[in-house]
Structure formats: C-alpha cells, structure tokens
Symmetry: C2
Subunit: 341 residues, 2 copies
DNA sequence: TTGAAAGCGCTAACAA
DNA sequence: TTGTTAGCGCTTTCAA
C-alpha cells in the first residue's frame, strides 16, 4: 500500500460577471442579458460578450443565480434504498432517462435514497431546498412519501401509479399488458394457469394482478378456479407454491416479475422439470436473465429508461407552468418465447 | 388514460433567518452563530434560538449559505454511462456507500453519467461549480476524466486504480486477491488453466491479469504455457475460446469477471459439459448469478458499498484539509465452491 | 456576548 | 439599447 499522503491546497481564481463587464466596458446587466437572452441587447454587444466568455472560459455561478431566482437547477431522483438486486437495473435505467432529459434543461440530478419507512433524506432535500422538483421512482399502496411531497408543495412526478389524485403519474400500461399476455396464453389453449406475485403493498403488483384477472375473465375462464398467490417473492414461498402447482397439474405458471420467475426456474431446474414440456412459464416483467434462459421466457417488455425520461419531461413541463396530463401510460411488448411453446 | 390536466401554482412562504432574529429580538448574526456553533453565543440565547427554529421549522437556505461560502453541499458521483447490465449492481452499491457517507456530512450526491469519450456532463458540473468534490466510479488506463479533474483543481477521489500519481485512489486489492485465488487453484492440483479477460483498457482488468500471472509464477508453473485471452467479454469471443480450451484439455477456466463467467457457463450448458467433472470454473468477481448457479462458482468476493463509503470518506478528509493516503486497498474473500471441487 | 454592515455573484426593476 | 440600483438569504469581519 502506498503510504504517501496528499493534502488539499484549494484555489479559486474564477472569473466572474463583473470581470467580464469591466473587460468589455459594459455593465454586468448587459453581460447577464447577453448570456440569458432575456431583455434587449444589440447583436454586436451580444456577440462580443459571447466571444469573450467563450475565450476566457467564464461560467456563471449557478449558486448566485439560484439565490436570486430561488432555483437550484437540480432535480431529485428518489430511489428505494432497499431495492433488491433484481430491481437495480430497472431503477438505474429509469435514472438514466431522468438524467438525460434533465441535462437538456441544464439541470443535474440528485439521488435520494429513501427507505420505505424512513424518508429523512427526502425530507432534508426538500426542506433544505436542494432540488426544484422530484421524480419518485416507485410508488407504494399507502405512500407516505407521496403524502409528504403533496404537502410540501414541491413539484413532483411519480413513476408508477398512485391512488393520490393530485400526483402526476407516469406508468407502464401494466393492466393492458398483463391482460393481453394472459389472454394470449389462454387462447393458446392453456386452461389451468396460476399467478405467483410479489409484495402486495406495491401498486404495480396490484395492477398486474388486476390485469391478470381481466385477461382470465375476458377469455371466459372461471376466475375462482385460478390460483393466485401474492407476497411470494422469496425462495421458500416459491418452493412451496411450485410443489403445490405441480401436484395440481398446472399447465402454466405466470410470474409477476423477473425475480419470482428466476426463482421458479431455479426450483424447476433442481427438480428436473422440463419447460415447456412438463410446465409452461411466463413472466409479467422481462430481464436479461429471463431472455437468455434456455428456453427463453415468454414475457412482457417495457422500457425503463423511457419511463424515466417521460417522467422528467412531465416534471419540467409542470414546473414551467404548462398543462400536464395527470396520468400517462407507456406502451409495452408481448414477447412470446420457447417457455410457452 | 386520465385526461385531466394539472398546473403548477407555486408557493414560497418559507421563514428566513431575519424572521427568526426579529421574533427573538436578536440579530441575524446571533442566530447564524447559534446554529453553526461558530463564534461565541451564550448558552441561553443558543437554546432559545434552537428551540425556536425547531418549533417553527426553520431551514437555512443552503444556496445562500453556499454563495457566501462558495460551497454547494453536493458531491458528484461519476458513473460510466455505458455500463453493461452486469456492472450496474456494482455501481449502484458503490453509490449507496457514497450517499451514506455524504449524508453524514449533510451533503447530497449528484449523479454524473459520463461516457468513455464524452465527459461533457462532468465538465459542466465542475465548471458550473455544481459540486464541491468528485468520486469517480471507474478508471480507465488512459483516463481523460482523471486528467480533467486534475487540471480543474477540484477535489476528487477515484475508485479503482489510476496511473495518475496525484489521484487519491481507493481500490479492492485485486492483485493480491487474484494472485491468491490463482495460487489456491494450482495448489489444488490444477496444472492446465486459462484466463478469459475483458476490456484491456480498464485498469482493473490489467490488475487482475497481473495478479493471475503472479499466482501462476508463485506456484512455479510456466507462464508461457498458460493461455490468457483479453478483450473477450462478448458471446462470440467466449464461444470460440471455450471451444478451443476444451479441445486443448484445459482443466480450469478462470474468468476475469462475472459477466464473462456467465457467458462461459451458458456456453458449457449449451454443450452439455459438466462442471466440475469435465471442466472447473472460477471467477475473479462474484455476483448473485454466480453464487446461485448450480454448482456455485468459486470466486473472489468484494464489498462495493464499502468501496463507495471509504472513497467518500477520503474525499471529505481531503476537502477538509486532512492528510489522506494516496492509495488505499480494501480486502477481499476467496470463496471456494463446487465449481472447482 | 452581541450587533451593524458589508458582501458572496448574480438578476431584475426601474431609469435613462 | 444600456446602466443604476437594490436585493436574493446568508456569513463574516469589525466594532461595541
């Protein structure tokens, strides 16, 4: 290990608006106007100013600007701190979408890790005015965070759906998607199918369940004969349920997300049960693991990054006082693969 | 879709330092001092102020504070924008470590997505003084970003190693780890082993290669007889290499990271080659996929979150003018599993 | 121990 | 079209 030590010296010889003004023999106001484009400045002056700041690398301080405009030029991206490994890529990609759109508006993105029942970091960021707006990455059925944001008065948008009437919501069209995939499976001749679902406190899981039920009903199957398990996204539960379903002669297991599906696949592999020969498998959420599985898994495909960028776009529109749809649903694809052949 | 629209009203009835001062019949200076703890204030006054702000929910504006102190109370976390799916959990966990430590110092974290040859977002954040310091999530052999940070004068810390003498570096002890795992494998009696590696432009990959070579030499094997493939983290390359190695009677394939290992496993599964009976497998980087594989894969285990928090700690120490080690290596574990039995 | 006043770097009325 | 002036909300000399 290198034992050498380093110490920060620090420096601050940044050029400021007054320097530019002085050098050019104009007022600070003029410089400010030339840069922002607000107010009238002659073409010549403007060109002169722009040339100068370009050459001398002048960058207006967003802190000073922020002080007078009460803006931070940051938006907050709220991520669940307890995301499991399988959730991470989803949130990461959403975040990329948010960041991309934010950059277009010269905004940066502050990450706020929030745990389901500790939102102190969110509170801090909002109360301390560290951000001008918030994108919430996931909604819960009974979401204190949404309540808090609503009360705080800060502009916010949620990804996913919320029972809160006031929230601007961007979501995948889970209900149509799940309904469609379920219908398709039944149309392929499957009569005995079952659904294994995750945390029933997540809005998305309730929505998927609803979509599944609609699909079943649409195809005229008796819903009361169909097994639906919720809160089963752990190995022990899955183990149990799969055993039960196999016993029962289930033709197709529909998994609510990729994590559950992965666990089902592991279980079936351990038991040497062949897909799709002995049982068919489908998933309401796709992931790399599922699509590279042998056989690949029939599933629904969404675009998380799109979700992030649309949400961020909506947030900016809202902040700028434009009218914004209260709820926007993004499209999906049904991907039929070998697991339901 | 809900067609209702929503429009932002906006509000700003926040209490400020002057209000507190007036209400208490003291000066703004006194309030400021009572809060910051700097300068002398009587116990009573201090208590009075603290009680008042607590009761009335006063939050000093970090923007105003920032303006006078030239601070943003934000640090920048630089993530490669082109991270592949397998990298994501690593960076995400690192980031969590960074965020946790930052929160202790009342700092927030700004995410900067930087692509290998486009670092405009990093430049913008630094030039616009959006952050007080930077944690760089990955280093390249020839890293423009490190050069830029060095020249800019902003405090920064890199995760991973950098040829740059001036950079404060926090890294896993890849070289010892890889050397140790390689040695252990050879001590188990393996004589014919091979290494499949990724992007040779990543510092970490060069380091792992070096560790592998040291392990081979330590055990007295002839390095020139050992096959080492670099830049092979794609399916076609892996396909080819594995065929070659099997032909060649290789006893053990060592994979430089979990992504490569995953591809090797897929390939072997397709070809119905059994692990560890027909070939043994080890990986220089662990992940959930590998540890839940059947059989579980022998690998090296690190703690990405620790990496993030140690890096962030070092950054703060440096910003506060403390002495900081130029390079710090974190420990690892060798996890022996069924894949090399 | 406290306060008055200046100023951080910028923008935005209001004048000219 | 341009400049003057007054802040934004806080901290920090300097003086009391």
């Amino acid at each position: 290990m290198d034992e050498r030590v380093i110490r920060n010296i620090g420096s601050s010889d940044r050029i400021k608006i007054g320097d530019v003004a002085e050098a050019l023999g104009v007022s600070k106001t003029t410089v400010s106007r030339a840069i922002s484009g607000k107010g009238r400045v002659s073409k010549d002056t403007r060109a002169k100013v722009l040339a100068y700041i370009e050459k001398h690398g002048y960058h207006p301080s967003p802190i000073a600007k922020g002080l007078v405009q009460s803006k931070t030029y940051n938006i907050g991206w709220v991520m669940p701190g307890d995301s499991t490994i399988t959730d991470l890529p989803f949130f990461q990609r959403c975040m990329m979408g948010v960041i991309e759109v934010a950059a277009l508006e010269n905004y940066d993105v502050l990450v706020l890790m929030v745990f389901d029942h500790d939102m102190s970091s969110l509170e801090r960021a909002v109360m301390n005015q560290k951000v001008d707006g918030i994108v919430l990455g996931r909604t819960l059925i009974d979401d204190e965070r949404v309540e808090f944001l609503k009360d705080s008065g800060i502009p916010y948008v949620v990804i996913g759906s919320s029972p809160n009437e006031d929230a601007i919501q961007i979501d995948n069209d889970h209900i149509s998607a799940c309904k469609e995939l379920t219908s398709v499976l039944i149309m392929k001749g499957i009569k005995k199918l079952a659904l294994i679902g995750g945390d029933s406190n997540h809005v998305v899981n309730q929505t998927r369940k609803k979509g599944f039920e609609l699909g079943v009903e649409e195809q005229g199957l008796d819903l009361s004969q169909i097994k639906i398990y919720m809160d089963s996204d752990n190995e022990t539960a899955v183990e149990h349920i799969v055993d039960e379903l196999i016993q029962d002669g289930t033709e197709c297991i529909v998994c609510m997300d990729d994590k559950i599906c992965f666990q089902v696949l592991e279980k079936l592999r351990r038991d040497n049960i062949l897909i799709p020969d002995q049982i068919k498998i489908a998933s309401f959420y796709n992931s790399d693991i599922l699509s590279s599985n042998q056989p690949a898994i029939t599933s629904l495909q969404y675009d998380p990054k799109e979700l992030g960028s649309v949400a961020c776009r909506a947030l900016f529109d809202f902040m700028e006082g434009k009218e914004v749809l209260r709820k926007k649903l993004l499209s999906y694809e049904v991907i039929l693969k070998g697991s339901t052949k």
